[in-house]
């Protein structure tokens, strides 16, 4: 446990309790995040029920290839993140594995953002930004795209924060400024990363699938 005491912070006296508290705290925060995205998806659902046809038509205008590719990328990143978390939890000093997987996770996250960027560019060129030059004529299609930009935008911000957190861990670990074994920060970051992932799965279904079912 000697390395663990290096991780001990004010006001804790026991490392066990400190990491338990970290886990409890992040779960409370994730509950908060779930309500955040939950409210947003509920807004989407209400609008979709009230404007089903327009949403189906607008849903067909999205680019499902980008969306699907991104789903694959993000799910893979969750895998590498899980490896990181398991490796730290084991306490067997998997330093290189942890660092490698952290880097891959961050890289996959960045790849997601890059694909998203291309998709955004595409959307802008196709005039799918609500406003005077909006491409679709369906009455509530603009509403769909209003929600599309909000949902994906907010998700992208969350992902960016996630990438920064992972990069920070990788960087500090690399320079041996951070104890990697049993570090509660890694588990906390991992939980956050998975949440951002799970949310994307919902978004994928909400954004790309309506109108394509049959």
């Amino acid at each position: 446990m000697s390395e663990a005491t290096g991780l001990l912070r004010e006001p804790w006296e026991s490392f066990e309790r400190q990491s338990e508290a970290g886990t409890l705290g992040i779960w409370a925060f994730l509950a908060s995040e779930i309500l955040f995205f939950g409210a947003l998806m509920l807004t989407y659902t209400v609008c979709r029920i009230e404007n089903a046809d327009a949403f189906a038509a607008a849903g067909r205008a999205t680019n499902i290839w980008y969306g699907t590719a991104n789903t694959a990328i993000l799910l893979t990143s969750s895998l590498t993140m899980t490896v990181v978390v398991q490796a730290t939890a084991s306490g067997d000093n998997f330093r290189r594995l942890i660092l490698a997987c952290l880097t891959v996770t961050a890289a996959l996250g960045t790849a997601f953002l890059a694909v998203k960027g291309f998709e955004y560019k595409d959307d802008i060129e196709k005039h799918l930004v609500p406003g005077a030059q909006f491409a679709l004529t369906e009455k509530s299609a603009q509403l769909f795209f209003g929600l599309y930009w909000t949902l994906t935008g907010v998700h992208a911000i969350h992902l960016t924060i996630g990438i920064l957190l992972v990069l920070r861990l990788a960087l500090l670990g690399f320079r041996r400024r951070l104890e990697l074994d049993r570090n509660p920060e890694i588990r906390v970051t991992g939980l956050y990363w998975h949440l951002v992932d799970v949310i994307w799965i919902f978004l994928y279904a909400l954004i790309y699938l309506p109108g394509r079912a049959s």
Partner: protein
């Protein structure tokens, strides 16, 4: 914390208390000591309180005359919006949790600090940043949407700085969530040995229940404001009826937060009062476990009554029935609390220092305001009085008469602990009584005006309501005076008042076992708890005059 030494201060006493442990400005601005952060918050919310008060002072002056000439309509609308926004999000929501909660939660459970001290400081900085943003919105021209930001007015029609104001509230929401997360983790993980859940003081329970609401309700406010901002800034047509947006969807989102938020504002005050009444009556609180269940019930059911703000909005009449029913249900736990406070006086040894006066005032005013809530929960009556001054009177009775009285009760009660000095008792009693009378003069007439049909947010009004408005405005002047008085005597007390001992009230809580002001790490030795709170007399006995035996502090390792 050695910078005080480095900057060449006088040699420190062996155990400097938290106030003297580093005196430079940076030592305050970078502190992670929960007690100092509490003080930073206290200063912040006091400033916001007087800002909100100054805005409404102009409003009340204007309302002296039915066709007032002091302000333009736009200025009037901006002033009451500013008042509502500042008072709710920058004063009342952070008031008790972030000052007393921060200061007392670790002390009451026997911990050296909160679970995440740096997060705690961060949350204060967020509050400051958000407040600056909102105040900027005011100086740069104001917001005229009311505190409720209803769409489509806020998104498509208002020409004011909705974006900046909403952004400010959005950010302060995160401060709220951070505090909530912190308190939840603290209560779960940092209780002293022997401090089981049912030995927690009711104030801790109240803070805990409040934190749950903060964490689960605030994100929904964030989303509703985010959508408003997106529509204003990026033109995304989310609430635009012409694009198929639902005209009352925003209201559902907003009230899903804002109804639970009213319990964020009242639960901590209930906690404060539950500490004070037993102390000055020298009695165990009546029905401790029921008080706990009531707190949790209020926090839980509070999530399911938001629709009672929308009885005339055009939502389904069946939804109205459900929300009306639940609003009555949620009044039951409040009733339990009122009766238990009253019953705690039975066979007590009651004395009437200022904290007790405020606490008893709280019970009366909260009951009045709560009972008026029952009028609003009855659909046919609400249809008539909604959006009138009846509602304004209802919520001021609870929020000003209740929560602010609770805040002042706590301020007087813990002042000796926080500063190590007593306050001047007769001035404080005078201010308490003045506040109580001024308050009733201001808001009682508003019930009548509201019932007679005076709508709220009215810059000009039909002349038959003038008499009520004159009464109300005069009362507000008395109230303003009563709020200014404590500023004076508290400042005086900091320098000239006698020193307080560890436990000037003979109270039983753990926070009174340490020195006043407490040392940086709260307790010189780890406390161990071996009895419940409010142990003022043996079980089954009446109050006695002896001071309670306090929890003993001893080395546990």
């Amino acid at each position: 914390m050695t910078d005080a030494l480095l900057t060449g201060d006088l040699p420190l006493p062996a155990h400097p208390d938290y106030l003297r442990d580093g005196t430079s400005l940076t030592s305050w601005l970078t502190t992670t000591d929960h007690k100092r952060i509490a003080i930073l918050y206290a200063i912040t919310i006091t400033i916001f309180f007087f800002m909100g008060g100054a805005a409404i002072t102009a409003v009340r002056l204007e309302l002296f005359m039915p066709n007032g000439g002091l302000l333009t309509s736009d200025a009037y609308n901006k002033l009451f919006s500013f008042h509502g926004i500042i008072m709710v999000w920058f004063f009342l929501v952070p008031s008790i949790p972030n000052t007393f909660g921060n200061f007392l939660l670790p002390l009451m459970i026997g911990a050296p600090d909160v679970a995440f001290p740096r997060l705690n400081l961060f949350s204060w900085y967020l509050t400051i940043a958000a407040g600056a943003f909102t105040v900027y919105a005011l100086l740069a021209g104001g917001v005229d949407t009311g505190w409720t930001f209803y769409t489509p007015y806020s998104t498509m029609f208002s020409n004011s700085h909705v974006f900046a104001a909403a952004a400010g509230v959005f950010v302060v929401g995160f401060a709220s969530i951070a505090t909530g997360v912190n308190f939840i983790a603290t209560t779960h993980m940092l209780r002293a040995p022997g401090m089981s859940w049912f030995r927690l003081p009711l104030f801790v329970w109240a803070t805990y229940a409040t934190s749950l609401i903060m964490v689960l309700a605030t994100p929904v406010l964030a989303i509703s404001l985010l959508l408003v901002m997106a529509e204003r800034w990026l033109g995304l047509p989310i609430f635009d009826p012409a694009q198929g947006g639902d005209p009352i969807l925003f209201q559902h989102l907003f009230w899903f937060y804002s109804h639970p938020a009213v319990y964020i504002m009242i639960l901590p005050a209930m906690g404060v009062v539950s500490e004070i009444i037993p102390c000055f009556a020298r009695r165990r609180i009546f029905g401790y476990d029921f008080m706990v269940y009531a707190l949790i019930a209020i926090a839980g059911i509070g999530f399911f009554v938001w629709g009672h703000h929308m009885f005339v909005s055009g939502q389904s009449p069946y939804a109205n029935l459900i929300f009306s029913f639940l609003s009555f249900v949620i009044a039951v736990p409040s009733a339990i609390k009122v009766f238990n406070w009253t019953a705690s006086l039975y066979r007590g040894q009651i004395s009437f220092e200022a904290p007790m006066l405020y606490a008893l005032g709280f019970v009366g005013l909260f009951t009045t305001g709560g009972l008026s809530g029952l009028f609003l929960a009855s659909i046919p009556v609400d249809v008539h009085v909604t959006d009138t001054y009846f509602v304004v009177a209802h919520f001021h009775y609870i929020m000003v008469g209740g929560a602010v009285s609770g805040f002042f009760a706590g301020l007087h009660f813990w002042w000796p602990k926080v500063t190590g000095r007593m306050y001047p008792e007769s001035w404080a009693r005078f201010a308490a009584i003045l506040m109580y009378s001024g308050f009733n003069m201001t808001f009682l007439p508003q019930f009548v005006a509201g019932y007679l049909g005076m709508p709220r947010r009215y810059h000009t009004y039909p002349p038959e309501f003038q008499i009520y408005n004159v009464m109300s405005s005069s009362g507000a002047a008395v109230l303003a005076l009563a709020y200014l008085l404590p500023l004076g005597y508290f400042a005086w007390s900091l320098f000239y008042a006698e020193r307080a001992g560890n436990n000037p009230w003979g109270a039983s809580g753990l926070e009174w076992t340490t020195t006043s002001p407490p040392p940086p790490k709260n307790f010189d030795r780890q406390p161990r708890v071996d009895r419940g709170p409010y142990d003022y007399h043996p079980e089954g006995e009446s109050a006695g005059l002896n001071p309670p035996e306090v929890q003993n502090a001893r080395e546990v390792r």
